[in-house]
Symmetry: C2
Subunit: 390 residues, 2 copies
């Protein structure tokens, strides 16, 4: 725990550096692309609904404990929305409200991991805290190497690495840090392999989908709803990005009836939430969701940023896959050592994140949930950086 507490994440380190540098040379001269904090405000309905609840509803009920599963009306509103959107038929009791994505994942892992031989498999590039959460529940963490062609999934490696110890296969689409959306073909192929492996090892393998960026997609990209393709899917979600509420800690876990021993898995989720100290998800935010589920901030702002940055960077000569979702651009470093590349970028006051901790050395993550204006001002620095290599 001491090591986890002292070894700060590289991202946060860089973010703190940026703040110091801004104080020194002026905010307008630092181009901080380090953090994935939504830059657009919560949709208007969020604050409006919170104010209405505080005014009109009974304080003891508003701020009181909800059931550990979550407020029944909130869960009904969310499953109604899911069913309308995806043509599914979930019930409120398939849903368990959580304190955000990290809570959704730690609770899910804790619920299904039974032995320290169990393996949780992620696909690079992946969000670095997956490793912390997996090891925190005493599972082994394994990584499928990246498919650098298009950052979909290298299935030959899936065939190789999914084995009789695999308990969870976790995917994140739209992806942090690549911005890639896994295609329907990818989901189908993955489902086919996992299903075959389940039979081969006579064992349930949970496909856990982490999808806080589901609504943040561009050019009409479709994000397949994975429960339709693979029976033992557990969906984890957070409103941090779609409603721009990362500090409020609100999300959910969905355990469909189709999951093997669904009721037992759901009960284990409740047990895991209890043992990890999650009494209930924040009640005012739960109640707000009854009216705001399905809303999003103005995603078009992110699209404008993506278009500007992608156009400019590829124009200069940088290589990157065009992001279809989330708010990250995943760029190939101009030297093999991406850490050293990020250091050189820092000399131009460009704060970008080495993707080594995402399981993908040789690349960098550029978060474009920033102001359009800052992107514009940063372009000459990206140009100078490119020229210094060519």
């Amino acid at each position: 725990m001491y090591n986890l507490g002292t070894k700060r994440s590289a991202i946060r380190e860089l973010f703190e550096y940026g703040k110091r540098k801004a104080a020194e040379i002026g905010e307008e001269n630092v181009y901080d692309f380090s953090i994935g904090n939504p830059s657009i405000p919560a949709p208007e309905c969020v604050n409006r609904e919170i104010e209405r609840i505080l005014k009109e509803e009974n304080s003891v009920a508003v701020h009181g404990y909800t059931s550990a599963q979550g407020d029944a009306h909130t869960r009904q509103a969310i499953t109604d929305y899911l069913n309308k959107t995806h043509g599914t038929s979930f019930k409120a009791d398939n849903l368990y409200m959580t304190c955000g994505a990290a809570a959704s994942l730690t609770i899910t892992f804790k619920a299904v991991v039974e032995s320290s031989d169990d393996e949780i498999v992620a696909v690079a590039p992946f969000f670095p805290e997956y490793r912390v959460f997996a090891e925190g529940c005493n599972a082994k963490f394994k990584v499928i190497p990246p498919d650098e062609k298009d950052f979909q999934i290298d299935f030959s490696k899936v065939e190789e690495m999914v084995n009789e110890h695999t308990k969870v296969f976790i995917i994140n689409s739209p992806n942090n840090p690549s911005g890639v959306v896994y295609s329907e073909e990818t989901i189908k192929k993955l489902s086919e392999i996992l299903d075959r492996k389940q039979k081969e090892y006579n064992r349930v393998i949970y496909l856990v989908t982490d999808e806080p960026y589901r609504e943040i997609v561009y050019d009409g990209a479709e994000v397949p709803f994975v429960t339709k393709y693979y029976r033992n899917t557990i969906v984890t979600y957070s409103y941090s990005k779609s409603l721009s509420l990362p500090g409020e800690r609100i999300g959910w876990i969905l355990v469909p009836d189709e999951v093997t021993d669904s009721a037992a898995v759901y009960a284990a989720v409740c047990g895991a939430g209890r043992t990890l100290g999650y009494v209930c998800a924040p009640s005012l935010m739960q109640k707000m969701l009854i009216k705001c589920v399905g809303a999003t901030g103005d995603v078009n702002e992110y699209k404008k940023n993506r278009d500007l940055l992608y156009g400019e960077l590829t124009g200069i000569g940088y290589e990157c896959v065009k992001p279809e979702g989330a708010f990250y651009m995943f760029v190939k470093a101009l030297e093999k050592d991406s850490e050293s590349f990020c250091e050189k970028a820092k000399q131009e006051n460009l704060l970008i994140v080495d993707a080594e901790s995402f399981g993908c050395p040789g690349y960098v993550r550029i978060s474009y949930c920033v102001s359009y204006d800052m992107i514009k001002r940063s372009i000459p620095a990206f140009e100078r950086l490119y020229k210094s290599y060519n």
Copy 2:
């Protein structure tokens, strides 16, 4: 996890029964004393401050991630308040904001427990989830039997049970379920023993104080601030009861500089929060606290309830220690088998909780965070119950 999820707590079971029964025979005929959900509204400043923040402050900042430790202004406001109230000299960096008391405890246990031989010792009667949290971080859970004389602490048992494996000694004062406040004499004596044991075993023993009821005291009862008596004290707190916000999940952990290797313990707290999936405490509630720290709901409402219930029950002939704090009355069952006693009470539609899971069979907990009127209406039922035994 499955067992934890399916074996509901006895309290919640009873609460659900009460709701069914109320639907059947009318709410006014069921006397539900089962749950510790505050019955008085949050102090006015809470909703007023939330509304002000939503109106005046920047949405991205209000709802954004705070640092994992918690918002710096919030931590400063809280430590200022503590220092003013207790004459201490804590700094903002001694404080780590959490998602409520359960999070404070799981994070603290996870931070300090190093081996499965480590023991966490609680004093009966104790809040039943302590066992879940202790076992959840692979420690052994041990219980000091109750001192039925006055529900302070049986020190002969402390001498016996604190040993070379003791890592944490946890106390809860004002106490749930007894309503007792540990006296200064009790805290001094406990500190003296733990200090001696530390030296004897050349080992740090953390005294963890769980004190969400600190502000809910009557007749001017003093709740000693334990850091003044014992160096290796870690204070855990929640605003669930003092601000009547149990659903909002907001509290803190205090690691004073005096704790041995304080910086390392604080870092371990940060690491434990991270591995358990607590990214930050809910941001809007953190920001509200800057102005509302130190406020409470109208505690006098609870006092009126206590006076009525204590007067009536002891008048009838029930035995109980007079509660000085919290909102529970701890009454001796009229037969040895307190479970059977609670069943008989249920026939009178009196829903009271068997204290067996609190480590104190033979007693029942009566939560008086209910309406004054319900208490009044319930008295004849308590009378009939008493007569049925005499």
